[in-house]
């Protein structure tokens, strides 16, 4: 058994596997299968100030080795998160990353300030949701605005701050550098890639929102590339995600430069995916003489 524990922004995770925001709710649904304490952490469903109803259905479309979603940040608002979800998660022996998604800079700062002094371990600022009209990708695809939002949240928050980046940009490194310069402690990437499917019998998009975010194994190589580029561009730690579905994917993403990982869409294929990935990482380490997972972070040897 190798050591899978990682230290990310001074926070100890018992293993690098965090369930990705939006894919796992608040963990309640999966507790009958395995204890949440098996996981390194949970990034909770993107929280807005008020209740958000999300986009009209259909919100899901299957794609080769992946899926599109256009859920649109449906959630019960920050107060429900603080009063109902957080107290439950606090009893689970799991690191809690609160994903926040404001539609304005002020809202992002307000959300962050409401988390000060709570049991939340870290903020993940979502500036990359492709499914909402305000905020979301509008923040995350412009380096200057991404920096401004980050600065406002940094000033409002006493918690470690991770900013979740959009892959729907020409240079993700530029956005990463901008949020680093404005006080981000870490970055997480990638959010989903904007995609579209059309039902050729009706000539209508499958998603009622017309377009949605692509995730699943199909996006994994893009995620690895972007994690590698960003790791080389910034000094702050990188949390890698996008299509991780087995232990070897997790190892690969860490070699690209990620020191923490998130697993999302894989859970829809296999509800046990997060815990299987942890077990497979352990097996891989044992087979390859790796006694501490930290040894492999960023060790890709580029040509």
């Amino acid at each position: 058994m190798a050591n899978l524990g990682v230290d990310f922004l001074g926070i100890k995770f018992k293993n690098p596997i965090v369930t990705a925001s939006g894919a796992y709710g608040y963990g309640r649904e999966y507790e009958s299968l395995y204890p949440l304490s098996r996981l390194g952490g949970i990034s909770t469903k993107g929280t807005t100030i008020n209740v958000k109803d999300g986009n009209p259905p259909p919100r899901i479309a299957e794609t080769p080795m992946g899926m599109l979603n256009s859920v649109g940040l449906q959630n019960g608002g920050i107060d429900k998160f603080l009063n109902y979800e957080l107290p439950n998660l606090m009893t689970k022996d799991i690191r809690i990353i609160a994903n926040i998604a404001g539609s304005t800079v002020e809202e992002c700062a307000l959300l962050a300030s409401k988390l000060n002094g709570t049991a939340v371990d870290m903020i993940e600022l979502n500036i990359s949701c492709p499914n909402v009209k305000q905020g979301g990708a509008a923040f995350g695809t412009d380096a200057k605005i991404a920096g401004e939002v980050t600065r406002a949240v940094r000033d409002a928050s006493s918690l470690p701050l991770m900013v979740k980046l959009s892959p729907n940009v020409t240079s993700i490194s530029e956005i990463a550098k901008s949020v680093e310069a404005n006080g981000a402690d870490a970055v997480s990437l990638i959010n989903t890639l904007l995609g579209m499917r059309i039902d050729i019998s009706t000539r209508r998009p499958v998603l009622k929102n017309n377009v949605g975010g692509l995730s699943g194994p199909a996006v994994f190589p893009i995620a690895v590339r972007m994690v590698w580029q960003v790791s080389n561009a910034v000094k702050i730690p990188v949390c890698g995600m996008g299509g991780i579905s087995c232990g070897e994917d997790a190892v690969e993403m860490m070699m690209a430069g990620a020191s923490l990982l998130q697993v999302g869409a894989a859970i829809f294929n296999d509800a046990y995916a997060p815990v299987k990935i942890i077990d497979e990482m352990n097996e891989w380490c044992d087979k390859n003489g790796v006694t501490d997972i930290n040894e492999i972070i960023g060790t890709v040897r580029p040509w």
Binding site: A23, E62, N69, D270
Partner: protein, 254 residues
């Protein structure tokens, strides 16, 4: 809720595109109730397929699943054979009301919406009148099973090749005239459910309908399978997998 690979112990075709599987799963059959569904992994495809439970064999720990080959995923699933294993997550969602005090119920199945009504028909037995609707006689399924369950069966086909020529909603109106039921249960195309909902509201009869929607997690985490609901305080999106698939017809905005 369980997720495991369960052995297929029986497979047959009910029509050219409707498959009937029985799998061995003591844990799921123990926990399941009429109207719940299971989420099945289709070999070679990323997302699972939500499929209603047709019959629960509590005594022998089995689960019967009947579905239509609609696309490549269900086609891949249909190619599994007896002796092979099926990767199933379930039982999921809320099922139909099963209440001993109800003395007369009407169950309505339209096309491939018919299978989930069978387990319910087994519960209500001779208290149940079952109305099924199909395009044509060759596509009708489960007639013998409903009769074996003790229910009175009223079949409808679009072309009149079996039973009544016409829609299940016409038969429902007649059956209500004959004897007003305590409750109506329905699963089928949205247009049929709209008709059933309207008729039940006209007559003040409690009605439950089973819905489907494109789904990812199946358990209520991803919020993908949205359905518009209204419980009297304005419209909002609930979710078929967790709030349903069975809903009170009054609270669904169809």
């Amino acid at each position: 809720m369980f997720q495991n690979k369960y052995e297929i112990i029986k497979k047959k075709m009910l029509s050219y595109d409707i498959v009937d599987f029985t799998v061995k799963s003591k844990e799921i059959s123990n926990a399941a109730t009429a109207g719940q569904f299971v989420h099945i992994s289709a070999p070679g495809f990323f997302l699972r397929r939500p499929i209603s439970i047709c019959e629960i064999g509590k005594a022998d720990g089995t689960l019967r699943i009947v579905f239509q080959i609609r696309g490549k995923g269900t086609d891949s699933l249909s190619k599994l054979n007896e002796g092979e294993k099926m990767d199933i997550l379930g039982p999921l969602g809320h099922g139909f009301t099963t209440n001993d005090r109800l003395n007369s119920v009407i169950l309505i199945g339209g096309g491939i919406g018919t299978p989930p009504m069978l387990e319910l028909a087994k519960f209500y037995g001779d208290k149940a009148r079952v109305i099924t609707g199909f395009k044509t006689k060759e596509l009708s399924i489960l007639s013998g099973d409903f009769k074996y369950a003790g229910a009175q069966l009223f079949e409808c086909t679009d072309d009149g090749s079996l039973g009544r020529k016409g829609f299940v909603t016409e038969e429902l109106r007649e059956q209500i005239q004959i004897k007003k039921p305590d409750m109506v249960f329905a699963c089928g195309p949205v247009v049929m459910l709209k008709g059933v909902k309207q008729i039940c509201e006209e007559h003040g009869i409690l009605c439950e309908i089973s819905l489907e929607e494109r789904m990812a997690c199946g358990v209520g985490a991803c919020l993908g399978c949205a359905v518009k609901l209204d419980k009297g305080e304005g419209e909002f999106y609930g979710h078929v997998c967790k709030d349903g698939p069975v809903f009170s017809s009054k609270e669904v905005v169809l």
